[in-house]
Amino acid sequence: MRWHCKKSGFLHEIKKNRVLYLMAVPGMLVTFLMSYIPMSGIILAFKNYRYDMGIFGSPWAANFGFDNFRFFFISGSGFRVSVNTILYNLLNTAVSQVLSITVALLLCEMKKKWFKRVSQSVIFLPYFISWTIVGAFVYNMFDSRKGWFNHMLTALGGEPVDMYLIPWVWVIVICFFNAWKWVGYGSVIYIAAIMGIDVECYEAANLDGASVTQKIRYITLPGIKNTIVIILLLNLGRILRGDFQMFYQIIGNNGQLFRMTDVIDTFVFRSLINSADLSMTAAAAFYQSFFCFIIIVTVNSLIKRFEPDYALF
């Protein structure tokens, strides 16, 4: 929705829609309190934080305040984990979104109500399982001595495999569990979008003798295209953030696998766990936020240029 008001119309605009604005006030206040005021803490990334001097009283870090960022780059690992994080996010977003859309389409086509409800609940269930538990599942599957995967292999006459020594396997494992956990949640959004499509379109299509696949292709997918773009954009906004819980619980501190499974969040955790330096942690968080910001602004302006209707802002 866009409002075209004259410059002098600002007060008029507020007055005209005062009830609407009043309703928005609590949300704006919360955002301001919880998101904007704490942003001043970013300054911590450029300070040598001392507890007794407070955030603003602590001395500035060396190298014009950028000293806290150095650990990230000196070993060359910063680049590697950034690339890993981006690739994982792209892969996970692609896989889980495609699956979410498929699930939403299937659920909407189901005719039996009870079956639809049961399936939806079952698919949604993993969302409530914590990564700690998932980590335990994974361990019990792939543990070299007692894991059921190796039991199964040997029972079928194969040789046991030490999954914890083969990095590429874990890309698949992580992608699978990420999708498994998020598909139910993601599909709800698409189901809502599909429900919002005008029923008359389908009725008209039925009269014209359209098949189910034709209806999906020419009515449903174009109808939810907007939602898809928004979800993708929101995911892009988090592209430098690794899901720490997921990576840490599934991989743990297994150095053998880091080459292909290390993301920014796990790297920072591991580097700083022995020094517990809040300034350096803040520096890492700032690095992520800064680049996420740049990426989302860039992508959004590109979209605005080519498909203005789909831009977020």
């Binding site: 005021i37 704490p38 942003m39 001043s40 803490g41 970013i42 911590l44 934080y49 001392r50 507890y51 007794d52 001097m53 407070g54 955030i55 603003f56 009283g57 000293d67 650990f71 000196i74 070993s75 060359g76 690992s77 700690t132 361990y139 543990d143 070299s144 001595r145 894991g147 999954m163 914890y164 020594l165 720490f244 819980q245 840490y248 991989i251 743990g252 501190n253 297994n254 150095g255 053998q256 880091f258 290390d262 969040d265 796990t266 790297f267 920072v268 955790f269 591991r270 580097s271 700083l272 766990i273 022995n274 020094s275 517990a276 330096d277 809040l278 350096m280 942690t281 803040a282 968080a285």
Partner: protein, 520 residues
Amino acid sequence: MKASFKTMVALFALTAATFTLASCGGSGQSPSAGEASQSQASAEAPSASGTPADGIDISENVTVEWYILGAPDPDWDAMMAEFNKLTNEVLNCNVNVTWIDFGNFLTQYPLLLASGENVDLCFQAVWMNFQSEAAKGAFYPIEDIAPIYAPTAYGWLPEEGIKNLSVNGRLYGLTGDNINRELMGYIVRGDLMKKYGIETIDSYKDLENFMQAVVDNDPQIIPLDQGGDGGLFIQMPQNLGLFSVAMYNFPLVVNLESEKEGEIVNLYEFPGTLEYFEMMRDWCSRGFWSKSALSDPPSATYRILTGEVAVEAHSQYSWIDRYLVAPKEYDLQYFPGQPHAYMDSYAQSVAAIGAGSKNPERSLMIYEKIATDERYFNLLHFGIEGKNYEFTENGELNPLDVTLFNPEACSFAWMTKWKAFERDLIGSPPSKAAVWSYVESIAAPNRYKMFSFNSEPVKNEFAAITNTIEEYAKPLQVGLVADPEAGLKTLNEQLYVAGLEKVWAEMQKQIDAYNAEYDS
């Protein structure tokens, strides 16, 4: 102690903390330098007006907040009620204890201290970054008030101890007079040794034979508990004549046998290290521990207690701890794995007062009571007499049910160990006396036990090296790297890339300064 690193939510907690802190920083919750010196001035006031013995003002009833490590036993609250009766009567105050569990101390303690929370007393230790936290202003300096409010607890400290507990010339903690001599070794299932006819474990060769026997005879048991927390590697540097002054697997160590006093060397380039890693590779491929050892989830209890493993590599104190709660038929034995027993640092377990403390004096007075009055000591360490423990005729301690109150597992014992009140445990292993006297016989001085490396000047390189160790050294430690020689080469290359030389120079500088002061 189980200084395990089974950390769960740390990064999130830490990043969240930066924001939490950001929001309260403005409102001045963290005590500023000015406030700290003000409250210190008011703390000194009573000492000027009254004599230490009776002139102390305790008219206001307060609750002091203590933070300690671990998890409470079921009878803890009942005991605390008794304890508070005592403190209320004599000192007009209550003690409220908050436990921080072992899995989370590396993340929760810094947050607690950084928040400026009212911490009247907390457990601290050199392995919890006591010195660097102190340097960041986390604690309340007590050199002025400790002699007044805790004369005994302060008075026994030798000059070396005071130095050890001080940072930048200010005293930040106290500790009990019973300092450990921790000696790493092997805690072994005695019943299995008997079964295989193995008498003793004196060397890697003996250990190897025992573990091979386990693999051959009891394949359902994992021979060695070799998780990611250290396992056998903790004792390795000392067996090469080296001594770690940072994390147990940090590359830079002091070469004790060098002609030059305090020479820092790189553990991973030292002769003998490659042979060790090759042995680990051999042991791992023979199934002495799980190939997923690095991903083993932290277990709720020690794996030797559940019969999952046959050997745990740890100290004689851990042995007593395990022995008391392990099934009796396991008959756990202990064999030393290191040539020398060094006295622990005075900062191995410290009672420190938080910078945000509201009642430092009262807190010290209670601490003093524990050191001087057996009633306080017995309650905290052994529980309620008649319910949790009784003394035998010759004064041994008989814990009535260790599942309700375990005297050995209690973390209070760490910062309040007083020789005068310590008791021998009745269900202790028969060989305890022999082990203890053996430890005495190989006791040796080691000045570097008191040295603590301040990583602050090279914190970026330190962090990068920490990461390199996790990625390249740990797989070598547990023998997961197929070619240890190539693996070791990569590790060293990566260490140099991460800035090893810079940290090396800094550590050598600090060690030289330490030695100059020590020898003067």
